[in-house]
Structure formats: C-alpha cells, structure tokens
Amino acid sequence: MTPEPAGIVVVGASLAGLRGAEALRRGGYDGPLTLVGAEPHRPYDRPPLSKHVLAGALEADATRLPELTSLRARWRLGSAAVALDRAARTVRLADGSVLAYDKLLVATGAQARPWPAETGGDLAGIHTLRGRDDARTLRTALVAGPRHVLIVGAGLIGCEAASCLRDLGLPVTLADPHPAPLANSFGTFVGGVIAGCLRDAGAVFRPGTQVKAFEGDAAGRVVRARLADGSALEADLVIAALGAVRATGWLRRADLMADPGGLTCDAACRARAADGTACPDIYAAGDVARWPIPLYEGRLVCVEHWGNAVEQASHAARNMLAGPGDQRPYTHLPAFWSSQFGINIKLVGLTAGADSVAVVQGSRASRRFLAVYGQAGRSIAALSFDQARWLPAYAGAILAGAAFPPILDATDQPRIERADPGFSPSRASASAPRPVEVFHA
C-alpha cells in the first residue's frame, strides 16, 4: 500500500495564500491542499482597512475576500506556523500539530513594525494597523473621541489614516523624520503635494521629527510622545505607522535565506537555501518573497502590494505544478494604489534609484498630474494623481525601457522640466531591515 501523499501546504491565509491555492486548483492540482493561517479569519482584503473601515463606512468583518475557485482545502486557521523542517518536510504549528508536505508555498506576508516596548510600546492607546483586528480596535478607539491623535510615520498607511481621521473631524498630528510625507515612496518633489493636502485638511504635519519614546500615566495609558530634541507632543492615541517586517521568524532554523527583510527566492519563486541553491519544493509569494526583478536588473525586492500578491502567487502555483525543466521566471511590473484626501494615487514601476522626476501631464498645483521618474535617462516609474487613465501608456513605455521622459506631445502637457525627486540619500539604508525581529504569531 502506498502512503497517502502529503500534498501541498500553503502557509499564510491572506491574499497571496488564497490566490495561490486557487491557482493550484485551476492549474489542475487535485491532491490534498492545506491552508495555514495565523489569524482565526478566512482570507480578507486589507486595502479597505485603512480607508473605509477606519472611516466607519465598512465593518471590519465585511472585508472577506471572495473565493473564486472551489478550493476543497483543509483550513488550519488561528494557529501560526512556528517551525519548518526541510529534511522531514514538515511544518509545525503553534498548537503543536505537525503538517507534512510534498510542496510548500510560503505566503506568510508581513507584519506591522511594532514600537519597541522599552520605549513605551506596550502603553495602552498605541496602535498599529495591519490586520482586521487592528482596524476594529482602532476604529473603536476613534469613535471614543480621542483629544490628540499622533500618527508616527508619514508613509502610505500614515497618510491614509490621517486623511480618514480628518474626515472624521479628529485632531491629527503626523510626525515623520523626512522633510515631506511619502518621501520614501515618491520623494519630496511629489510628497510636497500631500503636505499641502494635509494642511488643507487641517492636519498638522511635523517634518524632520524623530519620536524617541512614549510616556504614559499611572494607568499605563499613553499621554505624550518624547521627541529627539527633548520636547514633547501630547497624544492620547498613537498610530505607529512604521512600515512592515516580513513574517519569516518561523523559518529561523530552516537554513533558508530568510531574515526580517524577507525570504529570498530565485527568479522562478523558489526559496533559496542558505547555501544559495533553490529548493525545488518550497516556493514563496506576496509580501514575504524577496525576488530578483528582471525589469530592474534583477535587483532583489519585496513588492508589498496587492497586485503582486495575486500575480506572484498565481505564478508560483504554476511553477509548483510544472516540471523542473519548465520553471518560468516571474516578470512583473510593480503597481499600487492609495486613496487619500479625495485623490486616487497610483504608481507603476519602482521609484528606487530615480535620479530625476518630471511632471508630464497636468500640474502639481492642481493635484491632478502624471509624474515620471527617470534613472540614467531611462523611465522607471510613473505616478498618477487622479490621472490613472493614462497609466497604461506609461506602463507600456516603462516595460519597453523607454527614454526619460517617455511620452511627448500629450494632452495637458506642461513644459517638461526635470527635477530632483528629493529622495533622502540614506534611503537605501533606511529601507534595509532593522534588527527588530517579529515572529509569525
């Protein structure tokens, strides 16, 4: 009697895990399929959490993702994977159970970077925003009517939250070490536009501000933030929007190229062992995967965006079902969107490494524009503020490696002037993993 095959185990039951599992079934995989999720929830959608859910327009529970294919899967929800044994081909879960696999898809995603406990991170009133439960808790705290909300970190989540909170009429201060909001994503040239939106919306933006610690009252509730210059900011509710760390803690002893910056893969989405060889039975997709992106000279990137989770998971699933001689490289043009201050923001490409930027349609003053980022004379990214209809043309130009700027003689095109995008010189090191380890728990 042959033993029953262990089948495929997908660790991570969010967007990438779900879409990967669906792609496996659509690809004809008929064997056992198990999805492991740290949270007790079925897969849900995250983008609405920092928008409609905070605003109260959507219940946190109403964000469940549609399941597009019949999965016929075993769900192991509410029990995180805590260890991987590659030799035995098993995954151990927090509840002590052990799952055997023939092939493994790692889709554990990332977690909000927490504020360290030793500088006040465990005070009541300090929130992060990553999961459905975070959003529900934060929404409840907002409804209670905080007197001073401080958002630390003016990235996408910080700015979306600020926009939402101002719509709710709450007093908001947004503090960031950079000179402009969204400086890491877009540079200060474009970030300045969001600074104007924040001002018009009545939020206080504090550039160049380093928060050192939070201080609480006798009951252990946050009352103020202590800044690097010694001054203090009153705050009875804090949102720590410090970015994410990849959930790779459970892979610590698996002898893979994994650290809080991600799990390194080869071009075919196969996880790399510590010695650099690709594991034929372990694939990764979504926020957790660090992969060589062909469009940008094979640079290793984690693309923490919705579209990548869907596309990379489908691609990994395809390769998992294909033979070793038919492993196709993953080519993807990164893209993401945000909505804040009534503006639809979309970016295609990667801005990292840009040495110039130009507004090619519209104007920053009108807050409706298309900006293209260039590097060494080549167009590498295009950013739209309420002009997304034109993005496909610019995406095509970026894929084709077009010169910078890529499209001339467009409608509503100003005189094209190259500008310094205003990325901080320490950007590369700032985005490198900091030594804060978070486990997939």
């Binding site: 349609q361 519209g362 009108s366 409706r368 298309l370 209809r389 034109w390 496909p392 043309a393 499209i407 001339l408 003689d409 467009a410 409608t411 509503d412 095109q413 005189r415």
Partner: protein, 418 residues
C-alpha cells in the same frame, strides 16, 4: 466599384459612400486586416479591438477640433492671442466637451456628471414607461408601425427635454437644428461649403434659444439639469462660463436626439431579423439588458469618432504622424474575431461582450445609463405589444450618416397593438 479591387487606402471612402450604409461590415473586415490603415487623405483608420483600446488610453490622442497654432504657443495667453488671433477666437467660442481635451474637458465633464446622476436617470423609468405606452397606444388601429417616427425618435427627444428642462412644446423648433448639427459630426461635412453654412446657422439659432433658456433657469431654477448646471457652484471651482454652458446644453440635446434613436431602431431590426430572440424577450423581459448590450456590439448607434494625434504614435507596426486625423472605427472593433467568437453572429448570450458601443476612454458616453434604460423599456414594450410584427422592407432605408448610423425608417407590419 467591387470591394475586392478597392485599394486599402480607399476603404474608408467606400465606408462613407451611402451605398455601404446598410451593410458596412465587409468593408470593416477588410480594414481590420491592417489594424492601423492609412487612407489616401492622410487619415488613419483604426479598426481592431486591441488597437482602439490602446489608443483610447494614449495621452497623445486629442479630441480638440482647433486649427493648429500658426506660431508656436508661448504659454502667455495674451501673447498667444496676438500671435494667433483666429485660433484664439475659435478656442473661446462654444465648443462642447466632446471636442475638448484635458484639463478643460475634465472639469466640464465633472460638472455634467454631477447632474447626470444614476438616481436621476433611474427616477425616469416610470416616466419613460408611460411615454412608451402612450406612443404605442397612438398606433392602434393601424396595420403598420413606422418605428422611427412613431417611437424611436420621439421617445428620447421627450426624455432629454424633460431631463434638461427644455419645454417640449419648443421641440419642433430645434428638431431641424439638432439634425443639422448631427450632420456636422460626419467627417465629410467640413468639405462642403453649403453644409458648413447651414451648420453655422443652426448653431447660431440653437445657441440663441439656449441662451434665453439658461437666463430663465438662472432667474428661476427648477429641479432639472439645466437649472443645476446654470446654478452649479462646484467646490472651489469657478462656475461654468456661459459659452461652456450653452455648448454643453446643445451637446446633450443633440445627443439625446440623434443617438438613442439608432439604438432602439437597430435593436428592433435585429430582433425582427432574429424572431427567436424576439420571442424569448417577450417570454422573459429580464433578457432585455443583455440583448441591448449585444445590439451595442453588433449594430452600435455610433460607428466611429475622429481624433487627432498630438504626437507621433507607433501602433501595430504603423506610425501615425503628429497632427494626423485618426478614425476610431468602434463598430469594426465590435466585430473583431480576435476579440469575439463568431463576431458576425447576433448572440445576446455571449459571455464576453466588452463592446465600444458607447465609445471608450475619457469621452465614454455620459448618457449611456439613460440610453440603456430607454432602449430596455422600449424593446420590452415592443416585444409584448406588437401583434405578429414583421419587417416590411429589408434592408430598410438608412439615414445618410456613416458615423451616427441607423435606419431612416423601419416599417413593421402588425396585426394590432396589444
């Protein structure tokens, strides 16, 4: 000239020929062989689904109907006015948003969309149903229905008048103006001096009419769209100028007169040619929406629109030079076998129906939801109330327009009105 000896560069001239009106589709099939086909007048006909889709989202595609600058623009409006007086005068005259580019187009369209809301359009359903019934009641006792004059034309006219707030009693006055202005949308209209003269006269007349009406709406705003547009104070934006307001009102009125008529008539023609589909609709009115979508693909009310290349555009192996006119042949893309299975078959049940029946891109028809509702209600009523309908003449006579294409008349023999 038989089709097979027509040179590729003359295909669009053949499309314009009234003899092609009843069945232009074989010409479209030949045009699709070259997705971007240069014509002998220097224009480029774009006819495949993929090529049109790519162009609609190309920022170098312009709808501006302005003559080119005689001298390069300086960016200073006063200097430009002095250097390019004729162009500048045209630029500030009445030009509706279908002939405008961003950013002006966007603010005008946003203003229209604030008024042309889904609840407002949905609210017209009972009113449309009553009108359809009254128009069909009027045909009682006759052995035939002349669909265009009995229903397809008067229905959208009365609906757009109601929506805009134009007194329907004035309708006979602007009917001929609307027809004349629609003629001006055809590409050959500009070449003919007499057509141009009549178009300008119609435009002046309808502008005077609208100016008066808008003045009245400003003085005494009521709940209609024109009152809304005339008194609109968008957030932080300046109100619409009188020029823009008049141009917008005329556009909506003409569009209401000249497009939905084709949708309803083409749909009924398709149903009479496919009696099984007519029978199925009668049995199940829920089929109406998908039926209308298939008509929009199979026999769209507007076959093409023209644009201009602001810069050189390379597409499907052809480079369209800067300044060249571009004809987006939507009706050909709707029958592109690379996009639709068995495209020449009328099949309301096809699963994939992403058509260009309302155009696409930033100039996508603002009236689409209204047109769909009107056609849906009209077709359901026709399927239920015409007793033993049959086509009296096939093909029917067509109106002259190649772009706004549809039957001049559709005579339907009946045994009565139910």
């Amino acid at each position: 000239m038989p089709d097979e000896v027509l040179p590729d560069e003359a295909l669009f001239t053949a499309v314009m020929n009234p003899a092609s009106r009843a069945d232009p589709y074989p010409l479209y099939a030949r045009l699709r062989e070259r997705p971007v086909a240069r014509q002998h007048d220097g224009s480029y006909v774009v006819s495949t689904h993929a090529a049109i889709r790519a162009l609609l989202f190309d920022p170098r595609l312009s709808s501006e109907d302005l003559p080119p600058f005689k001298r390069p623009p300086t960016g200073n409006p006063i200097r430009d006015w002095i250097l390019n007086p004729i162009r500048s005068r045209i630029a500030t005259a009445h030009r509706p948003l279908i002939f405008r580019d961003p950013p002006d187009h966007d603010s005008l369209r946003a203003a229209v969309m604030r008024e042309f809301t889904i609840p407002r359009v949905q609210g017209l359903r009972p009113r449309i149903a009553r009108e359809v019934d009254a128009l069909l009641d009027a045909c009682r006792g006759r052995g035939r229905v002349c669909l265009v004059e009995d229903l397809s034309y008067p229905l959208p006219v009365s609906v757009i008048c109601e929506l805009l707030g134009v007194p329907e009693s004035d309708e006979p006055r602007f009917q001929s103006w609307a027809t004349q202005l629609a003629t001006a949308l055809e590409p050959d209209a500009r070449h003919d001096v007499e057509t141009r003269r009549r178009t300008v006269a119609a435009f002046d007349a309808i502008s005077d009419y609208m100016r008066g009406l808008i003045r009245e709406k400003r003085r005494r705003p009521v709940g209609d769209m024109l009152s809304g547009l005339a008194t609109l104070r968008p957030n932080g934006l300046k109100p619409m100028s009188d020029f823009d307001l008049i141009a917008t009102a005329i556009l909506l009125l003409v569009a209401g007169h000249e497009t939905t008529v084709n949708l309803i008539t083409n749909a009924m023609l398709a149903l009479l040619r496919h009696p099984k589909e007519l029978e199925r609709l009668r049995a199940d009115p829920e089929r109406a929406p998908r039926l209308i979508e298939e008509v929009l693909r199979y026999e769209p009310p507007v076959h093409f629109r023209t644009r201009k290349a602001l810069g050189a555009i390379t597409l499907a192996g052809e480079t369209i030079p800067k300044g060249a006119p571009i004809i987006l042949l939507f009706a050909a893309a709707n029958r592109d076998p690379a996009r639709f299975d068995d495209p020449d078959r009328f099949d309301p049940d096809r699963p994939d129906i992403e058509h260009f029946g309302f155009g696409g891109g930033l100039h996508y028809c603002v009236g689409a939801p209204l047109a769909r509702i009107e056609a849906e209600i009209a077709l359901v009523a026709l399927s239920r109330r015409l007793v033993a309908p049959r086509l009296m003449q096939d093909p029917p006579p067509y109106r002259p327009g190649a772009s706004l294409r549809g039957p001049e008349q559709l005579a339907i023999g009946i045994d009565g009105i139910a």
